[in-house]
């Protein structure tokens, strides 16, 4: 800091930073991307380890024997489901009661803001059935949850069968210290939300310590997949993933994350690209802010939760239901041993494979390198604004030129772009009915198309701003505006990255170059094209294609576009149903910020 208090050295440092500003920015950007790509390289990552003492050192023995019986129960469930044409509530209640559980049902109904075309639902009515296994001599203060969704069609019957089988087996054990809630939820997350949000008849059993959601659709499986990403990119404590991995290793079940097996050849190119793919899938999923399994809503309540999916592929080696039952038994016994909530291990991490993780300390520098570009540009602008312009020949400076631009010239674009953001946030839902009447589209299409319409209309902003502003924009004016915009973006991305690193990083990757290079003096048409390409909406479009590519399910442009539309509608639905923050963040903050740069480009 002595460096900065000495005016001479300070001046030298600042002149160095302004002179070399652009090269430093380019280097920082490259370094940021390189750092991020390096995160998937195994020697740079840490092996996972169990931090929680209560789960690490204690031994449990898995003895669940009744896999076949569980499958029979699953088939019975399937038959009753078909007969009832939905959730066989009475049968479930009876079956759970016969297993010695305290059984409750919860009815719920929900009207979606607009029809969900992916899952074909609008007015949702359903029932959750849950049975509580009361731990002997426990005062009902703590609970664990095991849930299986009741989905239409033939899927997940085995999961419900196994859930009931485990309930029966667990009921006869004496070592439980926490209540265990066995939940069969209807309408996936909507049912789950009804169950968690506390109301007089919601699933209660003291404070829930951990939850697992089980999805299983075949009698035998080849591998178990672990899904961690929850609402708003929240992740459960890493110890939950460690627990799953440890038991898969112990029992000998193939386990995957993001559907990817882990490989041992990290030093080969294909091995590296495999872990990059795995990590990128996690980044994309986390950035979407969607709950990627039924567990997703628990995380908000500080309940560590994950979904476990049984996958049956064409691999030779198969695992039967008894083994999965033993896997779950082991996990629940260890969770039962917990004295405190899971808190020892990381909450912020990325996983390039199930056995390795990248903690927040390792991935944050990648974002930091991108964010520092914004600060450097801001410094540059600040210096430019602070140093008086070169004196004219006659030694008299033009008073008009020097005087700082009016507050109005900065405030107007700020206000207008945010109003556009508000319009983008509110209009799609508000105008769906009108749009349906006027145009031959469905409600969902109406919402999505209105959103895209408002978004595109926002591009006319510079024109509108200039009409409002009397007189020409000054050279100083755009600098001040850009300074504000750059700092705004820096704060915005910084906060986003703290909460949801993936989202912050992806936005930074695209928005930082925009923020860095845009001035009114660059070639207009080319820059406008680049700006649009790097705008949040196009980022989302590319992400859709990229995500499909990563999942090894490439799509044509036509399909990709349809997927893109459905992703937008899902994003809006997630916000209105579960309170996902990505849509409001983009609409109310990121998009207006991008509009400011758009405005600078067309500064007159």
């Amino acid at each position: 800091m002595g460096l900065l208090s000495d005016p001479n050295r300070r001046r030298a440092l600042i002149s160095l930073l302004t002179r070399l500003n652009s090269p430093i920015c380019v280097v920082c950007y490259m370094a940021g991307v390189a750092w991020f790509m390096g995160l998937a390289f195994e020697p740079f990552t840490l092996r996972t380890y169990m931090s929680e003492n209560a789960m690490g050192s204690t031994m449990v023995e898995e003895r669940f024997p009744a896999g076949e019986r569980a499958l029979t129960t699953g088939r019975e469930f399937s038959a009753h489901k078909k007969k009832a044409g939905g959730m066989p509530v009475d049968w479930l209640v009876k079956t759970m009661q016969a297993r010695g559980l305290e059984v409750f049902t919860q009815r719920f109904s929900r009207k979606l803001p607009f029809p969900d075309e992916n899952k074909e639902r609008y007015m949702v009515k359903g029932t959750n059935v849950y049975g509580i296994l009361r731990a002997p001599r426990a005062p009902r203060t703590e609970a664990l949850v095991l849930s299986a969704p009741c989905t239409p069609g033939d899927s997940n019957n085995q999961a419900v069968g196994l859930l009931l089988g485990l309930a029966q087996y667990f009921r006869n054990q004496i070592y439980w210290a926490k209540d265990i809630i066995f939940l069969v939820n209807e309408h996936d997350l909507i049912g789950m939300q009804a169950c968690i949000t506390f109301s007089p008849d919601s699933c209660r059993g003291g404070s829930i310590q951990a939850a697992l959601s089980l999805e299983l659709s075949s009698d035998v499986i080849t591998s178990m997949d672990l899904v961690l990403e929850g609402l708003n990119g929240q992740l459960p404590n890493l110890d939950l993933a460690n627990l799953f991995y440890a038991f898969c290793q112990k029992i000998g079940v193939l386990c995957t994350i993001q559907g990817k097996l882990q490989r041992n050849d990290w030093d080969s190119v294909s091995g590296y690209s495999h872990s990059v793919q795995t990590m990128m899938l996690m980044v994309m999923k986390q950035a979407s802010g969607r709950p990627w399994g039924d567990h997703g809503l628990f995380l908000r309540y500080h309940i560590e939760a994950a979904s476990i999916k049984g996958i049956n592929s064409f691999r030779q080696y198969k695992t039967d239901v008894t083994t999965i039952g033993r896997l779950l038994e082991g996990m629940y016994r260890k969770l039962n041993n917990l004295l405190e909530r899971l808190h020892q291990s990381y909450f912020f991490y990325l996983m390039p494979s199930l056995s390795h993780f990248v903690s927040i300390g390792y991935y944050m520098p990648a974002f930091g390198l991108l964010a520092v570009i914004l600060l450097l540009r801001a410094l540059d602008l600040w210096v430019q604004l602070a140093t008086p312009p070169p004196r004219t020949e006659d030694g008299i400076t033009d008073k008009e030129q020097v005087s700082s631009p009016g507050v109005l010239s900065v405030l107007t674009p700020l206000v207008i772009s945010h109003l556009t953001g508000v319009a983008l946030y509110t209009l799609p839902i508000q105008f769906q009915e009108m749009a349906v009447e006027q145009f031959p589209v469905s409600e969902t299409e109406a919402v999505v198309l209105t959103a895209i319409g408002v978004y595109t209309a926002g591009l006319a902003l510079p024109h509108n701003t200039h009409r409002l502003l009397s007189g020409e924009g000054t050279e100083q004016g755009w600098r001040v505006l850009k300074l504000v915009a750059v700092l705004y973006l820096a704060v915005l991305l910084g906060c986003t990255a703290l909460i949801n690193f993936s989202l912050g990083f992806i936005l930074a990757l695209t928005l930082v170059p925009v923020a860095a290079f845009v001035t009114p003096h660059v070639p207009k048409v080319l820059s406008a094209f680049i700006l649009v390409i790097l705008s949040p909406a196009c980022t989302l479009l590319f992400s859709v294609f990229f995500f499909q590519e990563l999942q090894e399910l490439p799509v044509s442009f036509q399909e990709g576009w349809l997927l893109y539309l459905s992703v937008i509608s899902q994003g809006i639905l997630d916000h209105f149903l579960y309170g996902s923050l990505v849509y409001p963040l983009i609409a109310l903050l990121v998009y207006p910020c991008w509009l400011l740069f758009w405005n600078i480009l067309f500064w007159k």
Binding site: L4, R137, T141, R171, F198, R204, E340
Partner: protein, 584 residues
């Protein structure tokens, strides 16, 4: 003859004299030894098969002693009454003492009402004599002494978890003093009950666990159950219906619920041996009465039940608003034990319907995040057409700051204004919140009481060793007079089974019920204790270096200042100025 006659009469005289003398002596010795009147010990076990298939066993041991611990009377001889408790009563001028240790939660909806309700953990409430001047000091000492007697962490009772309820805990014994200045109530919801608490409790019994019903109290079985609760109640009672003199009553109760599902593989069949791994061979020789009651109400024709050996003795009692029939086994009769000289009761039954409990309650915390939350208390009145008032008592630790203005009471969607509210706000680190209110529960309804709270940030030394486990909030207590279906027995002096005579009954139309909700486990904002060193280093560095210099840079502007010239130079310059040459 006359001589003979004389000698005979002398002889008779002497004999009578000796007899009288001896009688007087014995009487004198007895009086000296006791310093008091009679004492009496009764023991009793009630077994009730529950609707859920579990089985409920409730032990009661009652010692009544006609004595007076107060008024400077030094009681030194104890026969049946435990000396340790007698000394506690006289030293701390205790008028009533109720202490319970419970492991597990009583499931009212599955099991109905218990004979003696108790909250999970430890509960202690004491009425002191009005002669006590420093109640808080006495209370503190008393809790420490009891902590030693019962091997429990009662010494953790301090001012932060003690309250003085104004209405919920009236004395159960005789006495008109109801000034709640002399009442102290505290719970420790986290207290874990185990054999170390059972052993001192058993030692208070006159026969210990050597004979009588106490033989059955083996910890390996008692703690292999769904619910376990043991309690000690001391109170003054009337000696007779005129109530001219008082006696001290000590009731030791132990309630246990065995899980049938786990241990019997679904068969509804129980025996004493299966439950307790012991059979009975004798009554406690010191007991005036020793009985086993088996609740057979649900099978008047004997279809549901099969009890063997059968007994001809039947008894009816009105308990908790319901007339119930019991098979009675009198252990003081040799015939009870039969030829094998041991009693192993065997019970087989089929499922039976239970009367739905008229009053029950639940509680939970809603909301997410670590800043605020909301406590919901739900009280159910299941009576089809009668409404009745309940007293709700909530004692919440100070670190949950209740926003009492957000208190709402709603029944059937409508605001239900409590007719009486007693609220004592908390003081940080000194005393808890106390909220008591009288609410009328409409028939067949759920009444919801909600209040929001803020979680306080504790000082770092105030966290428990396992702060991420959460912090406990004790059970709410709901006390009520519930309308009874059958006429209650109001005669308190009549000979009745012990289990039906615990709560005094003043009117025929209603009976007293106390319901406890589950305790809450609340998470407080907890710092990451694993790296205090890092945190301290980082904070210090940031504050010292970063903040200091940045603040310096931001608030000052720097200018280059010419060093001031020396005196000689200044004088030289003045001269040069006068000469008109440019200064140096």
């Amino acid at each position: 003859m006359a001589e003979q006659k004389f000698s005979l009469s002398v002889c008779v005289c002497v004999c009578v004299c000796v007899c009288v003398c001896m009688c007087v002596c014995v009487w004198a010795v007895r009086a000296m030894m006791c310093g008091c009147g009679r004492d009496d010990f009764q023991e009793e076990l009630v077994i009730r098969p529950l609707h859920s298939g579990d089985i409920y066993a409730s032990f009661q041991f009652r010692t009544v002693w006609e004595t007076d611990f107060m008024r400077g009377n030094k009681v030194s001889h104890y026969r049946l009454f435990p000396k340790s408790l007698g000394q506690v009563i006289s030293k701390f001028s205790v008028r009533e003492l109720h202490i319970s240790f419970t492991q597990g939660y009583w499931r009212t909806m599955q099991w109905g009402q218990p004979f003696q309700p108790s909250p999970p953990g430890a509960e202690l409430w004491v009425w002191f004599q009005d002669s006590v001047t420093d109640v808080d000091g006495t209370w503190k000492e008393l809790t420490n002494v009891l902590s030693g007697i019962f091997c429990a962490s009662l010494n953790f009772i301090d001012s932060t978890n003690t309250v003085q309820p104004s209405a919920s805990f009236k004395p159960l014994g005789i006495g008109n003093e109801t000034d709640h200045r002399f009442l102290r109530y505290a719970t420790l919801p986290r207290e874990i009950v185990c054999t170390e608490n059972l052993t001192p409790w058993k030692k208070l019994l006159p026969c210990g666990s050597k004979a009588g019903l106490a033989v059955l109290l083996k910890s390996e079985k008692l703690f292999h159950s769904s619910f376990h609760s043991q309690a000690v109640h001391i109170r003054p009672v009337c000696q007779d219906w005129q109530c001219k003199t008082t006696s001290w009553e000590l009731r030791q109760t132990l309630n246990v619920v065995f899980d049938l599902h786990n241990s019997a593989q679904g068969k509804r069949e129980w025996s004493l041996f299966k439950m307790f791994s012991r059979t009975l061979t004798e009554a406690c020789p010191l007991a005036s009465s020793s009985k086993i009651y088996i609740d057979i109400t649900d099978n008047p024709q004997g279809e549901q039940f099969e009890v063997s050996p059968a007994t001809p003795l039947l008894s009816q009692a009105v308990v908790l608003g319901d007339r119930r029939t019991f098979s009675v086994y009198d252990l003081t009769q040799q015939i009870t034990f039969g030829t094998v000289r041991s009693l192993n009761l065997l019970i087989r039954w089929k499922s039976s319907d239970m009367l739905r409990p008229l009053l029950h309650a639940e509680r939970y915390v809603a909301g997410y995040g670590l800043q605020t939350g909301e406590i919901h208390t739900l009280m159910y009145n299941n009576h089809p057409y009668r409404s009745f008032p309940v007293l709700l008592l909530d004692s919440v630790p100070w670190y949950l700051r209740l926003y009492i203005h957000t208190l709402t009471v709603t029944s059937k969607g409508k605001d239900n204004k409590p007719s009486y509210i007693h609220y004592q706000p908390s003081k940080d680190r000194l005393r808890p919140h106390l909220l008591e209110m009288l609410v009328q529960l409409p028939p067949n309804s759920v009444t919801e009481v909600t209040v929001q709270f803020e979680r306080a940030l504790l000082k770092w030394t105030e966290y428990t060793p396992d702060p991420n486990h959460g912090f406990y909030v004790g059970s709410s207590v709901i006390s009520s007079l519930v309308p009874s279906i059958v006429a209650m027995d109001t005669n308190s002096t009549r000979e009745r089974p012990l289990f039906s005579s615990f709560f005094p009954c003043k009117e025929e139309s209603s009976y007293f019920v106390r319901v406890y909700t589950e305790p809450l486990l609340v998470n407080l904002p907890t710092p990451d204790f694993s790296m205090p060193y890092n945190v301290i280093c980082l904070t210090c560095t940031v504050v010292a270096v970063g903040y200091g210099s940045l603040y310096n840079l931001l608030t000052r502007s720097f200018q280059i200042e010419e060093p001031s010239p020396g005196l000689a130079k200044r004088i030289a310059n003045i001269i040069r100025k006068m000469r008109g040459v440019p200064p140096l």
